[in-house]
């Protein structure tokens, strides 16, 4: 420690709070001037902490599993009845889907349709929520040499989750479709009208900018649009649901509140500026 007179030390102690308050304003300016700075610091911090989160995930998962187990045992009987009914209904749907798929293949064959390339994907575990109060995102734990790039698309088993916005050495951050900054070109499935899906930080994102003469129907399915070359066409997003105030929100098909595992698809799309070109071949893809 540097030796100082008591007066000097007291003066320094009294000055440090105002000086640091001024420094916090400087930090705000710095954060505005160099947005990448905060992003890089966050990614580095998340990379360092990812092993801790991953280690915590196992015991926490066991506790959660024990809690949900008791709840499941409690109403297993009614759940079984419900599942039988749903299974019967799904079998009918499966028959319809298979027939339609066969018909689709025949029609495509007669049209000399150019098939779209299969997208490669990697599967990653969600280790933590990476959003704050004013942001909705999740953190994925990915191994080194994962090959995930910014702008790739995250999907769970039911529908679109979001897009990769930051990539670290061991982690990737996915901005959810509910985030305030999320804007997704979509198509309303029955009317084929284009619209934009806008995140509000709430549970459900909101539909906007649909063409005149079209009204989004309650319960209508919403899928991604290939417009702007940022998403592949026809990924399921959710269904239209009108809120009390008459605004069409979209209830996401993906279980955004309890994400555990997501698939990250590389469709090779380059529609969004700022995406980096691949620097190396991507190992570990299926």
């Amino acid at each position: 420690m540097i030796r100082m007179s008591i007066q000097a030390r007291q003066a320094l102690a009294r000055l440090s709070l105002p000086v640091l308050i001024v420094a916090s304003f400087g930090l705000m300016l710095l954060g505005k001037a160099d947005t990448l700075l905060a992003e890089r610091a966050r990614t580095a911090l998340a990379d360092g902490l990812a092993p801790i989160y991953a280690a915590l995930a196992t015991p926490l998962g066991q506790i959660r599993a024990a809690i949900s187990e008791t709840a499941v045992l409690w109403d297993m009987r009614t759940e079984n009845d419900r599942l039988r009914a749903e299974n019967a209904q799904l079998r009918r749907w499966q028959a319809i889907a298979l027939a339609l798929d066969a018909e689709n293949q025949r029609l495509k064959a007669s049209l000399s349709w150019i098939p779209e390339p299969d997208a490669s994907f990697v599967t990653a575990r969600v280790v933590a929520g990476a959003g704050g109060v004013y942001a909705k995102a999740v953190l994925l734990s990915v191994g080194p040499n994962h090959g995930i790039r910014k702008g790739e698309i995250a999907v769970d088993e039911r529908g679109l989750v979001g897009r990769v916005t930051e990539v670290g050495v061991r982690t990737a951050r996915v901005l959810l479709i509910t985030d305030l900054n999320s804007r997704i070109p979509v198509i309303l499935e029955s009317s084929r009208a284009h619209a934009i899906l806008i995140g509000t930080n709430g549970m459900w994102p909101r539909l906007q900018y649909w063409p005149e003469g079209v009204v989004p129907q309650e319960g209508e399915r919403v899928v991604t649009s290939a417009e702007a070359n940022a998403f592949p066409a026809n990924l399921p997003i959710g269904t239209v649901h009108y809120t009390g105030s008459g605004v069409p929100d979209v209830e996401p098909a993906a279980m955004l509140q309890q994400l555990e595992v997501v698939r990250i698809f590389d469709y090779g799309l380059t529609g969004v500026a700022g995406m980096t070109a691949p620097e190396r071949p991507t190992p570990g893809r299926h």
Binding site: M1, A23, S24, K32, A38, L49, Y53, V127, G129
Partner: protein, 184 residues
């Protein structure tokens, strides 16, 4: 070592282990704050878990600034604020500024509150926490240049006020025992 003992009397020799002990006790407030903030980031799967981080940070900074300001000097508050900004995905500087303001308020109110009981401190903290949550909300709106719903700010304020006793009561116990450098 910042803690210079100038009281008269006979004390044990200043050995390495004793220095470490004093240092551990001295750094207890800042370390416990950072560890608790880290725990709020664990995958607990609680609804609205994101609001826990600012709530815990506000409670800790208020408590330790009030009872042990020597162990939580402004530079450490600044560091905790940077962690709040990074973990909480706030624009840089928002958490720093807010926590420094809470620290300053605690230092100012230290005199009058030292004669009051827990209830009074909690009531005053209610006002400080509400002001801090609103300050975060306003700063985020200014820095992202966008109107935001005030509901998260109200929720943070309510959560902060309601978890304060849960944190403050163990802290008060720790302050008298393991966090006290004079007992090293």
């Amino acid at each position: 070592m910042a803690h210079v003992d100038q009281r008269p009397g006979i004390r044990p020799r200043v050995s390495l282990s004793r220095r470490l002990d004093v240092f551990a006790r001295f750094s207890f407030p800042a370390s416990v704050t950072i560890v608790l903030m880290l725990l709020t980031q664990a995958p607990l799967d609680i609804v609205e878990q994101a609001a826990l981080l600012p709530a815990v940070a506000l409670c800790c900074v208020w408590f330790w600034s009030l009872f042990r300001p020597d162990a939580l000097p402004p530079p450490l508050v600044f560091l905790i604020g940077v962690l709040l900004d990074l973990w909480g995905y706030l624009p840089l500087g928002v958490g720093v500024f807010t926590l420094l303001m809470v620290h300053g308020a605690a230092l100012m109110l230290r005199g009058p509150l030292s004669r009051r009981g827990f209830g009074w401190i909690w009531i005053v903290f209610g006002g400080v926490a509400t002001a801090a949550a609103l300050l975060i909300w306003i700063l985020v709106m200014l820095l992202t240049f966008r109107l935001l719903s005030p509901n998260p700010a109200i929720f943070i304020a309510m959560l902060t006020i309601s978890i304060y006793p849960v944190l403050a009561i163990p802290f008060a116990g720790a302050d008298r025992s393991i966090g006290n450098p004079e007992r090293a």
